[in-house]
Every structure is written in C-alpha cells, then in structure tokens.
Homo-oligomer: 222 residues x 2
C-alpha cells in the first residue's frame, strides 16, 4: 500500500472522459496495482481510479496509468506533500451473512415453509430470460415459480412475471403459479403482485432457521 498526498490535476480517458482541476488529494496505490484518487469527502468512492491490471509509469511531474483496454489516467503532480508505503500482507477476506443467497439456501431446504405440501424441483431453474430462484410443486402437483429477495420491490415482481411467462410456454408446467418471497415487501410491490396474480409472502430469516430442514443434522453445531 502506497499513500501519497499531493496537489494534483487528473484526467481520465476511457469509458468516459473526466477532468479534475488542481487540488490536494490522496493517491492510493494498492499492492495489486490499482490506483485511486480520493478527495477528503464524498463518501468512500474515489473521484477517479484505474483498476488492476494496469501499467503505472512515473515521471517527476506526472503519473501515467494505462490499461490494456485503452483507458488512460493522467495524474499531473504539482507538489507532493506526503508519501508513505506499507506492506500489509495477505487479507483473509470478508465473511458475509444474511444476503439473498442464504435466504434461497434456507428456503430450498425448507420449501414447506412457503406452503404446506410444497416440494423443491430445482434451484436456479433456467429459462431463456434467466434462472428462476426456485421451481417447486405444490401439494396438487402444480408448478410454482418462486422469486426470492431480501427486500421485495417492484423490479422483483417484474422479474418473476417474466419468468412465469416463459415457464407457461412449457406445456408440461403450465399453468404456473408465481410466488414472490422476501423479508419485507414494499407496498407498491405488493400492489403490483396482486394485479399480476402473483402471490406475495413475507418470511422471517430467524424464524426460517428454526423450521426443520430437509437435511437434519444429528449434531446441530453452532
């Protein structure tokens, strides 16, 4: 990690064209070679950056960072105010919990939590417009397309409607039920779901974990 504080001017040409007038900024060069130009505000996003892999060529008065894709970042350095290097070593990386994937996993193992008698056909069931999160069958053997979101918004209902449309083209599945499942469902999404004949269901993440899984463990390790 290399941290340089400098009065600089920055120009980027690549996916767009951007210019930064002269000011004091932080130049951050990470071990993987990526370069970021930070102002002292405006949240965590840098003003300008160049991802790895790239080539950084340093001159006394400027840095030229170029990538194979034809992007170029030119940092004109008017004055260096501070410079620092540090070796961090490897980072063990971020562990996340509570995202959509976990919710999908929980429901795939407990389809009866959605409705009595529900059973799983397949996770990520493919259609020509993308995969349905879960394809299930209800107690009467009717196909049910399930779309899972952390937060249920209008986009998700649109997505599920598209999938149902495609699945209904398959005579072995039609007519397909559609079930929109989320930890919380926005009022607008609920309204749209209703008008589309899509069932909307809120589930609680912690409650779900209490419900018996289809793969019970002898020793429930915590």
């Amino acid at each position: 990690m290399r941290l340089v504080i400098a009065r600089c001017t920055v120009d980027y040409q690549g996916r767009l064209t951007a210019h930064l007038p002269e000011a004091v900024r932080l130049l951050m060069v990470k071990a993987d070679g990526c370069v970021a130009v930070h102002a002292d505000g405006g949240a965590f996003k840098p003003l300008n950056w160049m991802n790895a892999p790239n080539t950084l060529v340093e001159y006394p008065d400027r840095w030229e960072v170029t990538s194979a894709k034809g992007e170029a970042l030119l940092i004109t350095i008017h004055e260096v105010l501070s410079e620092q290097r540090y070796d961090f070593g490897d980072d063990p990386g971020l562990q996340k919990d509570g995202v959509e994937a976990h919710l999908q996993e929980l429901l795939a193992e407990r389809p009866w939590a959605l409705e009595d008698g529900m059973s799983l056909v397949r996770r990520e069931y493919p259609t020509s417009l993308g995969p349905v999160d879960l394809l299930c069958t209800d107690s009467r053997g009717r196909a049910v397309a399930v779309e899972i979101k952390r937060r249920g918004e209008i986009d998700g209902v649109e997505q599920l409607t598209r999938y149902r449309e495609r699945l209904d083209m398959d005579s072995r599945l039609a007519p397909v039920r559609a079930m929109f499942v989320a930890q919380s469902i926005a009022p607008q999404a609920r309204t749209l779901a209703e008008s589309r004949g899509v069932e909307a269901l809120e589930v609680d993440y912690d409650d779900l974990r209490q419900i018996e899984s289809s793969r019970p463990r002898l020793f429930d390790l915590h």
Copy 2:
C-alpha cells in the same frame, strides 16, 4: 483526512452482517465523517465502510461507528502501525463527459439517425412513471417512445415498456411505437424486446457524431 494503518478486526451489523478477521488494513476517515476500511488490494472498494452522517466513538482498543439507521461498525484495533492527518481544503469536483446524457443529446439533435424521417417532439417527455428519454414522430406521424442507454440490458426494456403503457393511455399518441437504443444490447434484452414488440437498435457514439446535426455550426471547431 485521517489515515490509520492498523492490525484490526472488523464487524458490521446493519443491512447485513459481516466480519473481517484480524489483519493489517488502512482505516480512512474523511472530513465528512465517513469511515472506510481498505485492504491492500481488491480495487477501490473498501472491505467495509460507514457513510456519513455517523457517530465515531474512539476507545483505546476499538472504534465504534454507528448511524441513525441502526447500522454499526465495530473496529477492534490490535495495534496501530501508523497514523497521519492532513487538511486538504475544498475540492473543485469532477467534470464528466461521454455518459448517457451525451448520447441522448446527440440523438436529440439527429433523430433521423434512428430512422429515416424521424423527428423530435421533446426530450425527457414526462409520464406519471418518469420521463421518456425522447418522444419522436416517425415519417407517418406515429409517436415513438425512445429509451437510450449506454449498455442495453433487460431493465431498460422493462422501463420502456412501462412508459409505452402510459403513453398508450393518451388517445392523441396511441398506438405508440417503442424503440430501445444503446451502444450495445445484451442478448436477453433483445429477446425480451422482441417479445414485447419493442424495436432494438444499436448505435455507435463516434459514428453519430459524424452525422449532420439539426443545429449545424458555421465553424466546426474541434
């Protein structure tokens, strides 16, 4: 700007739950109060962060950053390796060029680039669901709703479909044609467009600039 290099452990609880095992990282605190935890790699995005406004309380062995929305970032500091503060002063901000707005501008001045005989009614034509990028009329006088993207994906087709639905409610405009225009259009977006009766058109930014504008200049400055 405050830059601290420290061996630390990080826990975030809020929109999700995340944990970072002990390692050396950069802690960046900006003048607006936002806090970011950077590893020495992985592009410009921090591993963890907390946006302003928030409250940072420092103890000898840990930082507690909390927000009004109930998010909490706990940074346990095992060892401080370096600390630095610097006052940057104001930043004049970024100037951008070549984003979607420019593509829209180019097409608004050259609607015939979309189709022979096309003419512009209005940019950002309002509907109750948001503005349509361009409303045009074709050579037969039929209304055409145009949605412009840099990259055409499935969401954009949905967006345009919603607008057309609204515009079709206006008897002076109906039936409205829908035209999805982008520098590149994803296969799935094309599939959806087709099934929705939406025309899909790829345009080249540089070619467009070559086409005569409706506001020709006497002196074409470069």
